[in-house]
């Protein structure tokens, strides 16, 4: 059963790729992926919390009594989320404003709690961190992908980070932005179609 660190890391990138293979943590996926930048930021924030909580849960796994483990995980995760909130306010304030309520909600993201419980509580520190990094990076990539798709369709542009942005209209002047994609119903439909595509590739 022992897997190498590399395996623990790479499984998050395809085999257990959230949210497509591991259909969890959908709220931020739907809520923040209006642009690629948002998706990327959310992904990084989640990865940070995931790594921190996995690390700490794995370190403390002997000390935490099984019956209150969920409450303990929640405390650890909540602490990390607050740290992220504070750091984001201090360094990436505009992004913090855009992500809004979804930053505190990382605390109830099933992926974070799920990995703490299903993996970190049972595995040693190095593999837990590898697992968290893999899942986190997978999540970040998925969010960015969905974000860029929706941004391209809906705004006709793609903002990588800050001022670095490209516009489709420069290339294809006749392009009409499909605003539906950036709005709420579009979020569901785009994610549903992405899932479908992943299913097709997975087959």
């Amino acid at each position: 059963m022992a897997k190498t660190l590399k395996q623990e890391f790479t499984k998050g990138l395809w085999k257990d790729l959230p949210p497509f293979r591991l259909v969890l943590g959908l709220c931020p996926v739907l809520g923040v992926t209006t642009t690629m930048e948002n998706g990327l930021g959310m992904g990084v924030a989640t990865t940070f919390v995931l790594c921190g909580s996995n690390l700490l849960v794995s370190l403390l796994r002997q000390a935490i009594p099984p019956r209150v483990r969920i409450a303990c995980f929640v405390i650890i995760i909540a602490a990390f989320v607050t740290v992220v909130e504070l750091l984001m306010q201090a360094y990436t304030y505009p992004l913090y404003l855009k992500l809004g309520v979804f930053i505190p909600l990382i605390v109830v993201n099933c992926i974070v709690l799920g990995r703490a419980e299903a993996f970190a509580y049972k595995n040693k520190v190095s593999s837990s961190v590898a697992d968290a990094l893999g899942i986190g990076i997978g999540f970040t990539l998925s969010l960015s992908l969905l974000g860029s798709l929706r941004e391209l369709l809906g705004n006709g542009s793609l903002t990588i980070w800050g001022d670095l942005s490209y516009s489709i209209i420069d290339v294809v002047p006749s392009f009409q932005p499909f605003t539906f994609a950036t709005q709420a119903p579009g979020a569901f439909v785009c994610l549903g179609l992405m899932l479908c595509i992943i299913n097709l590739i997975g087959k």
Partner: protein, 687 residues
């Protein structure tokens, strides 16, 4: 800083105290299994499983309402652990595995054209599915999608095929199937399952007293997977070598091909794979469940005893066989002559079964060499009686005590043992059953000049197997029908000198449908013979009773057999079970083997502390009405393979086996004659 610490401290303290006291104050008893399963679930309460949180999911899993892999967060290791927990809940701690019941698949006819969503569940919601067969596979593969281990694939015939190496027995497939095509069962659940009215059974399987899945093993043979064929047989019958030789194959008379053509030589195919193993020079491994530590005393090492011991051993128990004769095998050894079942083949077969870890004690007779009370004292948890029917009925005519007159079983067992009896030159065997024929055919091989078979009715009424009668005729046995022995005539040395009998005529049929013979006054005739063997039936020898122990409490029927509940083989003393001839009176070997398995099922239930109830819907060899067809369209008669046997003039010189094993080519050809029937569907002949 301080405020912050104070606030978090107080929130933490309030939560901790509130929760810990609440858990004490509002404690409600919960099945510890649920807590155990919940401990293995992700605990994220994400709701991805469709249940209201992890504890609700755990409860559903324990109560078999959800498969072990319901949680979408946890990894395979946890699923395995959960499967192990719930598996232990359902039966003994042995790995359950998925098992496909339907072999119909695509060939089953449709009642209507279904063009809905590609899902069994959806299809089944519409009038139970589009297939004609109420129990068959719908073939949309819900189970394949449900399996998280890639252990199920859709076979070419339109039904799921399980890869047993990958299956962990999580139960997801079973839960996803709207029918009961895939059943996740432990080994012992499979071994002990009695054919039931809801099973997809071919007519032949319904007719087999051992309930072997005949179409499945024939299919294995067709695909040259002989080892799997043997495994399939051994799931229900531990003695394919012996049965392949001596079984009168009631299955073949139900064979669906037999309606339009000659039936498939099912028994020859069984013998072929059994011989294949023996000649291959190695024994196939036989899977056994983990040890349970329970001990069972098996009294009598005949087919019923061996079968019961075998199944109990495979279920993880520890049976010990006590046998009065010098070797195990019972009637197989001492009642069936060498030319039908060579002793070295029987030895090889029994040895293989004992190798599973069954202890045997021979030359020990209950009541003489050991006492029933000592068994209980020795810590046996249950006792199984398979003492057979070794007591010949007496004719009740003068002269039976003469030298040169003996009983059939006595004669056969002495020939089969090490001390053959002294016999003369001309013999008369009285009786029309298999024992009588066996005596005749044995006598002719012992070099006698003339062997008569004296039977009081006609050939049509003879209970012996047709094939045996024909063989006896070929071998020159003279049949004297409608003859009732009157007395045995002695010479001056108190030796048998002849058999006087009355000629009979058939009267009106009696309750059993047989014509009752009526003696004709003054028709006495004498057969000049120096040996008379009476073989008119047997009953169990119960001499171990009457010693003032629990055995005296046993109910005994008026045929001197153990009175048992027929579907459980349990006697009125709960820990005593009985099967085989001892419970049924003289019957087929395969009946004894089936009885041994039925008894093993009950003993297993008894040892696990469960109620020994008959299995619901058990068929017990009653046919399923809808599966017995009056005609079978689509079958092109082609005749069965001829049977190789030794030429008559040669064979009566020796005890060499008469019937020879069929060749692989013939076996393959014959297996292709099988229609692979299920309950309703079958493969028609296409060429």
């Amino acid at each position: 800083m301080l405020e912050s610490i104070l606030v978090t401290f107080s929130i933490g303290a309030v939560s901790g105290v509130a929760l810990s006291y609440a858990s004490k104050l509002f404690y409600v008893y919960e099945d510890p299994l649920i807590a155990k399963v919940e401990g293995l679930l992700a605990g994220a309460n994400c709701g991805g499983c469709g249940f209201a949180g992890c504890s609700a999911a755990a409860e559903a899993i324990v109560n078999d309402k959800a498969p072990a892999n319901a949680c979408i967060l946890i990894d395979e290791e946890n699923i395995r652990e959960i499967a192990a927990i719930t598996g232990a809940h359902a039966g003994p701690p042995e790995p359950p595995s998925s098992y496909n019941n339907c072999s119909g698949g695509k060939r089953a006819t449709d009642r209507f054209i279904y063009s809905g969503i590609w899902s069994c569940t959806a299809a089944a919601a519409l009038y139970g599915g589009n297939r004609d067969c109420a129990i068959g596979c719908l073939g949309f593969g819900d189970c394949i999608r449900a399996c998280r281990f890639n252990a199920i694939k859709m076979g070419g015939h339109g039904f799921p095929v399980v890869d047993y190496d990958k299956c962990v027995g999580c139960g997801a497939c079973e839960a996803s199937c709207p029918k009961t095509i895939l059943e996740v069962k432990t080994l012992s659940q499979r071994l002990f399952h009695l054919s039931s009215a809801g099973d997809p059974l071919a007519p032949c399987s319904q007719g087999c007293p051992a309930e072997i899945d005949i179409p499945r093993y024939i299919d294995h043979i067709r695909n040259m997977r002989y080892e799997e064929a043997l495994d399939t047989i051994r799931e229900k019958n531990p003695m394919p070598l012996s049965c392949g030789r001596v079984c009168p194959h009631p299955c073949e008379s139900l064979c669906r091909r037999g309606i339009a053509d000659e039936p498939v030589s099912i028994n020859q195919l069984k013998r072929f794979v059994a011989d294949y193993e023996m000649n291959s020079g190695r024994r196939l491994p036989i899977a056994c469940s983990p040890a349970t530590g329970k001990r069972i005393a098996i009294i009598g090492g005949g087919p019923a005893g061996i079968s019961c011991a075998y199944f109990l051993r495979r279920a993880g128990h520890h049976p010990e066989i006590f046998e009065a004769m010098p070797k195990l095998g019972g009637m197989l050894r001492y009642g069936i002559p060498e030319y039908r079942l060579p002793k070295k083949i029987l030895d090889w077969e029994i040895q293989g079964i004992l190798k599973l870890g069954i202890e045997s004690h021979t030359n020990v007779r209950l009541g003489l060499d050991f006492d029933f009370c000592s068994l209980v004292a020795a810590g046996f948890d249950a006792v199984f009686f398979s003492v057979g029917a070794w007591k010949d009925y007496n004719l009740g005519i003068p002269g039976e005590e003469l030298s040169g007159c003996m009983t059939g079983i006595n004669f056969l067992s002495r020939v089969g043992g090490s001390k053959p009896p002294a016999i003369g030159k001309r013999a008369a065997v009285i009786g029309g059953g298999n024992t009588a024929i066996d005596c005749c055919r044995t006598l002719i091989r012992m070099g006698l000049d003339k062997v008569y078979l004296v039977y009081r009715r006609t050939r049509k009424e003879m209970p012996a197997n047709e094939a045996e009668i024909v063989a006896a005729e070929h071998e020159g046995i003279e049949f004297v029908f409608l003859a009732a022995p009157n007395k045995i005539i002695a010479d001056e040395e108190k030796q048998v000198a002849g058999l006087e009998y009355l000629a009979m005529e058939l009267g009106k049929p009696d309750a059993s449908g047989r014509h009752r013979p009526v003696p004709i006054e003054g028709s006495e005739q004498i057969l000049a013979v120096d040996t008379v063997i009476t073989a008119i039936g047997q009953s169990p020898l119960l001499s171990f009773r009457g010693r003032g122990n629990r055995l005296d409490d046993l109910n005994i029927s008026r045929w001197n057999t153990f009175e048992v509940e027929p579907s459980t083989c349990q006697t009125n003393v709960p820990y005593i079970f009985a099967a085989g001839d001892a419970a049924t009176g003289p019957a087929l070997v395969v009946d004894a083997i089936g009885g041994g398995r039925k008894a093993a099922r009950s003993i297993d239930l008894f040892l696990r502390g469960e109620e020994v109830n008959p299995q619901e819907d058990a068929l017990l060899n009653k046919p399923i009405g809808e599966s017995i067809f009056p005609s079978v369209p689509g079958v092109r008669p082609m005749g069965r393979i001829g049977l190789d046997e030794i030429d008559v003039t040669n064979r009566i010189q020796t005890f060499a086996e008469v019937d020879l094993t069929i060749s692989e080519r013939d076996a393959l050809a014959e297996s292709n004659r099988c229609l692979s029937c299920c309950r309703l569907c079958y493969n028609v002949d296409t060429h």
